[in-house]
Symmetry: C2
Subunit: 183 residues, 2 copies
DNA sequence: ATTTCATAGAACGGAGCTGTTCAATGAAAG
DNA sequence: CTTTCATTGAACAGCTCCGTTCTATGAAAT
């Protein structure tokens, strides 16, 4: 039955967000799903398939901000502000999961693999932002580093959570950093 | 015997740096120290005492850069550059341990407690740097956030490792970000 | 009406870790 | 020389997880 499968992946996603993938056990998933451990193994013979199902499930529910509209924005500053604001709004909604997943990626190889599409997306975002500034860039290395840094989730965590900035203020600060690398 | 105790704490520190505190087991420590598990329990009845011994051992071997000289530097820019450069050099030497400890702090309460002195040190550093700029600061909130962000280990990780910047270049970039908050 | 199949429920052996206990060894201190 | 004490080595019960196996139930498909 399809509903059983979904209850399992939903339970897994729930636990990944609550305690993190590293601490999530098959036993825990089965219990939360109200299912026998055995049943989990039937649907997902390998952890790999389970992780894949979780990724689909989660990213399906939390799609990344669409980058297409940003490409239409000619002004580098506007493009940057728009993209960063959207991205930071998105981070608010996926905070728990990203916090746990990025933390556990270092210890659980499967988690790192599951994050690769997201990492690729961030690289795309960064490339689009860099492109806008590229023509006038006098320090391309610094520009690239600054944009990639701005786009990362740990940077959002630092500025928003630990430094207590409002998202718009954080965007302002990072915009200044990035634009300090262009004339 | 005192040497046994030190072999135990050294083994523990070694494992904390290699695989992280969260994955470090008493059994593993005993084995690496070439000692019976029992012996570990004798010297450190509670995990708390073991962690305390590890902290002393590690911070003793890797003392934080002295902040006193920085207070003598009148120029805010010079003070900032000097301090950040020293701090970033220090981060190179404690990278593994900080990477693991900060990651595991979220899941192992004892690790978080052990890190509090270090966190306090970073706050001191930030305060000293902010002080230098404070008189001319027109946006104190931004200034404070920027300095705290610059001083954090995750920021160093991002700029140095993931963005691939040279330390001096990273310092330059962050200096610009910070100084963009003052006239 | 019968077969098929997903699931429940229970159990197995194996692994790794925990904290504790016991007896044996050996070295240093009195 | 004798006592004290740190350490060894081995064992115990306990816990949680793993992956697998068996039987039983029940519902849906044919």
């Amino acid at each position: 039955m399809e509903t059983t499968r979904r209850r399992i992946t939903q339970a897994a996603v729930e636990l990944h967000g609550r305690i993190g993938p590293a601490q999530t056990t098959i036993a825990g998933i089965a219990e939360l799903a109200g299912v026998q451990r055995h049943t989990v193994y039937r649907h997902f013979p390998t952890e790999e398939e389970l992780f894949a199902a979780c990724s689909s499930e989660y990213w399906g529910d939390h799609p990344w901000p669409d980058v297409m509209p940003w490409k239409e924005i000619g002004s580098p500053s506007d493009r940057l502000t728009t993209a960063l604001t959207a991205l930071y709004g998105y981070y608010e909604t996926v905070e728990q999961m990203l916090t746990n997943a990025l933390r556990d990626a270092a210890t659980v190889p499967l988690v790192e693999r599951s994050l690769q599409p997201f990492t690729g997306y961030l690289d795309d975002v960064a490339a689009i932002l860099i492109d806008a500034y590229a023509p006038q860039a006098t320090e391309p290395v610094l520009l690239k580093a600054a944009v990639h840094h701005a786009v990362e989730f740990p940077t959002w965590q630092s500025l928003i959570h630990r430094q207590g900035l409002q998202p718009e203020v954080a965007v302002t600060l990072l915009t200044r950093m990035i634009e300090s690398t262009t004339p």
